[in-house]
Symmetry: D3
Subunit: 288 residues, 6 copies
């Protein structure tokens, strides 16, 4: 990945999240253990190091946690967001006030491990579909409060983002279709009410809905829980019509290659944000 | 579990989280799909139903999401937090404005599925150690912003909570010990600086530190990544001295029973909050 | 307009804005005039009435201001958002505690008059282009803090919304093109980095850029400050290629019809949000 | 104007507004166009330049927008708040990271253009009454959330401020008078309840109320929608009694001189904050 | 005091303070004692009762604390803000969920006792000066975050409020005078820069400054730490000129009568907000 | 006190409080007096100096107030938190922009004087019990919004902290005991529901409850309003059982020594936070 063109994370978005996380952990008295035991002037040096292989994401976020407690902390970055890292490797070296580093450690790691876990999970699917037309994307099944960060981690892992919220694209599901009286009526109402900068996706769960969605001029068709042959047929119809297809429904790194082979454009996976295990990263202290 | 004595969740704590989650998802224009397609006066009825077996947690939190978008929504609760629920069972029925229910659905599910996933994971360990003296507890490896909710889910799953933040109990780790010049010095400094309502725990990673921690009058000794025989010896020493022991380090539902058999008092598990998969719960719409 | 399908305003979005507006006006002591002079138990009845003809927008927002200061206030709605109202007509009747109504009056009117001014301005352009394929839309030139409300007012006035922020659609301007090395490179980078739910618009200021933008597979081409003949040619090329066109640049109700006649799809106007005068609406008290 | 004695704008007040404006525009993913297309290390240089003549206000506010996204941005100020600037003139030069400058541009301009529009409108009236005893002032008809900034812009334009909210001065209107049983009773109640640091103004709409207000010892009398002869008589009576007069009611730059000639002390104008068009200012990029 | 004309407290101002106070006390897990021990369905009835005589203030504020934790709580009000209450008297009866009442108790009492302490202190001075022209007022020496509430308590105690902040009135102190080059220059600059709704007070600490302040047309003269004879002379000069005088400097209930006898208009006391002891009020539980 | 091991105050906790205090005082227009009178470029130098003897606390908090209004302000610290300072001594010298120093002065002093008042009150009791086993601690009777700061001031004064909120330790009072059906039942329920890091205290008001609390294995017994002989007996019983005792109930610096002599471990005092008078500290300006 060309990192310099990665869609990044503005400090305007990140800082309030990290501040709130620190406030949540520090509570009303701060780190009473470190303050009671470690002299205010003591300094420490710690290495952020992986305990297992994976793709790292969130180094700037973790660094902000340390910096907010010690503005003079020095952070030497050894690896970058998006790097595939082997187990046991150092990612960054943090040098500064011992109290501040110990107090910020858990918040920094909670964020870094979670985001790296998401990047690692995304990367596994992205690797599986490499060479096909398919790209992997996320869903809105993210952790409340952390969507911006988690969607960033998906990008770091080689995926792209589905919509960011309810307001930036239209996704017409079965309930909308039922309440609107059919796909055509639903798409048509959305087109009429919404501007020209909004894409419209229709979720279908059977092959016979595909032509209907194409006719209704949907921009994207979500193929929900279809069999591989169904996906192949659907993708074929949609491709001919210039409509994008998105395969959806419990897709894993194992099943992704076969799905990609059906010719779909996008593969969306909820578990990469809602159920990916963290990537285990720790902070190892060294004599300074 | 006697639910009426469960340590609950104050709306003062929960409401800001749910409001922020809704705001994150609604963005600057709200649910453009539902608003464009569904008449404002349309009503809907949906059933929250499990897709897999597990322990449900967070029904009040999910209900708040619906209620904040439609104060008149009716929620009929079929099962309660802490119930072990089979796959496919209905948990609650939500009846109200169709737009509001569809708009709140994802936020409600994101919270409910995550908390239920944590309760289910906790419950697996709690079941494994039933009949021993050991209890399962959590760590500070929680999702930033959601600690109060996630620690509640641990309680719902039959666990108890370790400290809530850096400020409500002392946990002296290897780095503190190194910087303080030994366990005795570290505990003594903490005792002198802190009040009588704070418990002091010392993390040890070898058997020979156990007597030192007991002598220092630690309230709790954390046995970090010890072998089963080491744990047995440590627990035996500590029990005699009236000191509580806590086993720590990559503990799973599989390994918990053997660990509990060593005689430790507490088993702490980070993965129940940082890596537990969600419990899959959906909202099924019905004709009203 | 079919009001029941208008894309509305969630209270989750509106309430914090109205609360903040009331707090800004009440300061640290509240409405000292009304409190000092009017007995706490006094009641009043006021009619929200137009002082000039226009399209009203924001009745729910204004009502929320009264309701937040007196939860028992009664609001009888005589007209609805989107109604074209003649000068001097009553819009709603507010009955409740005199202190609360007087204290909320200014905030309610500041919001209602501003939003109605925007709806009225939008409506003037929308009326001018009726019968053509062109629709009117807004820009990001909105009042900081009020974008959600102002874009709602545009919808009420018969317009549709351009993007809501920097993150929900791509708009490639001259500076982006220069830094990327051309339209094709810019669009191609955006496609590669962004998901399938994001539309890509390219701003062009000369006719010869139009084929380049079409070739680059832009979804939308913005025709910036073009002459009418240029717009006609550009629209013609783009229509054939199935690409949407948007006319931009100091468009007024007077110039809109001629622009619409060129065959463009969208007409965007910044002044409807940044410079539209308010619609003058007052609150007339009556004996109760 | 002696700029060094202008009543300024504290960063404590401004920063939260600018941060919120940036967050509103950046949404959940930031500036996806610039991030996708422009390398993170690219730099740019832009000139803030007027498109029309007017009085500039808000340069510090605009600068803060750029600085919050790139703390190392350099801003060379060419003109200052309060300067009357000809069309096409450069106001400031912004040099820094290209992504940050492009991402902050709209927020910076939205604030700068609005505040400059207000200063320009204020200045027009201030110019019209120069040489008379009359001064121009604002009202509470400001944009919710931006009152502090808009009242600053009025000062920059050569006006002074009326009260900042409901709590810092008393303004007794017709409804208060009616509910209190007369001007004398209303003023007397306010005097009794309020401290010695609060001024009391009474709104009158007929000449015969003027002596009543003077007798009641009002500090200020607002002459609402009076004819010029009525204003002259009212001002004459009030001046003799040492009471300040304020003319109010749809006052424009055209009508201000004649009103000032009546001898009133203050001329208040709502439209300078609620309906003044923006001053068109743009950001022109240059090769660096 | 005619309570129905007391300048009250808007819920818009109070609710965020009470919510924040509850959140501060509930922390990340809520009231673990009550939740662990008391069944969720248990109910309780408690009487707010004084432990010492004084003037009660803040009943609505305390009631809000209970109501925010149990919206169905019933509060029977026995006495009102401003009542002089004997030791041991019941003020209000609170009936509702036992957990909620116990959890809100401390926050309710912390606010009620503090505000009642301020009202009681204010009342002591107000009583001492009854029958003179002097009124008692407060200062800006209030508790950060609670100014609105504390100034309300002063009003309840029979005082009036000095300015609410730095922005609603001018108070020219010695340092301002020194930096401006004299009283006349300072007042003149303030008059020129500020509107007609702002009062200007000048602090003087010697008799010879009084005529200077009168000449400069100050609205109010603060007599700082003067002797009684000095105050008498100053008040006499100022009264003749129609200028208000304010005595300031370590004024107590004991010294107030003599000061009032000098003929000053206002007596300001900082200690009533910064050092008044609380009024001891408790919550006594009864069988329900 | 070894200041370098004092449990400090994180800027994450302090900064929002100081920002809010400044915003409360600056209102919507800032310090209109200083801005109108003092040139923007004027500089000043002021000395924070005590007006009475006491223990200073909160210098960093006060310094933050100046720094937030003038990031370049220089603060020369002459004395430190915890120092016992004689009347009239300089504590710190503040040099910077005159406007900023004058504008921040009141907020800085309001915080510094209050915290120093608490530290001074705490220190008086701490001095009285020196040489005994007893330590002084605080309660939850703190000022809403300032608990973290006030508990810090108690530590500075030589005390230690009781619990920080309702969630970090258990305190079983008479009402809990009544609702649970006795001390044993109450403690047992708390033990079962709560983790191993939470201390449990039981409040008793008669001697015969002491053995019951010891049997129930309470960690701490609060002796509420007992006579000295009762305290002696209770302490004696509890000490033998290894249970900590805390004396509570209107304890003053005068009564503390006798109470400490009874052998109790802790003496808790509410008045040090809720009713301690401020320590009078002022800011004296000097020629620069």
């Amino acid at each position: 990945m060309n990192r310099s063109e990665l869609i990044g994370l503005s400090p305007i978005i990140v800082e309030p999240i990290v501040r709130a996380a620190l406030a949540e952990d520090l509570g009303r008295a701060g780190d009473i253990t470190s303050d009671a035991i470690i002299p205010a002037e003591a300094r420490a040096r710690g290495v952020l190091a992986t305990r297992q292989a994976g793709v790292v994401a969130g180094l700037d976020v973790a660094a902000m946690a340390f910096r907010l407690l010690d503005p003079a902390v020095e952070i030497e970055v050894l690896r970058q967001d998006g790097d595939e890292i082997e187990a046991g490797a150092g990612i960054a070296v943090v040098t500064g006030k011992a109290r501040a580093i110990l107090s910020a450690e858990r918040v920094a790691l909670n964020l870094l491990c979670r985001l790296s876990g998401i990047a690692t999970a995304t990367s596994a699917i992205a690797d599986a579909v490499r060479g096909t037309r398919a790209r992997v994307c996320d869903t809105r099944k993210t952790t409340p409060g952390l969507r911006a960060l988690e969607k960033y981690a998906v990008r770091v892992g080689g995926g792209v983002n589905h919509r960011f919220g309810l307001d930036d694209a239209v996704l017409i599901k079965d309930n909308h279709i039922a309440l609107a009286g059919g796909i055509r009526a639903a798409v048509s109402k959305a087109r009429a009410r919404l501007g020209h900068m909004v894409k419209i996706e229709v979720e279908v769960d059977s092959l016979d809905q595909v032509p209907e969605a194409i006719d209704a001029k949907a921009d994207v068709i979500m193929l929900d829980n279809m069999t591989l042959p169904e996906m192949r047929d659907a993708a074929s119809m949609a491709n001919r019509a210039g409509v994008v297809t998105e395969a959806s429904g419990r897709i894993t790194a194992e099943s992704a290659a076969a799905i990609a082979a059906t010719g779909v454009d996008m593969i969306s996976a909820g578990w990469i944000t809602h159920s990916a295990p963290i990537l285990d990263i720790g902070l190892d202290f060294e004599g300074e």
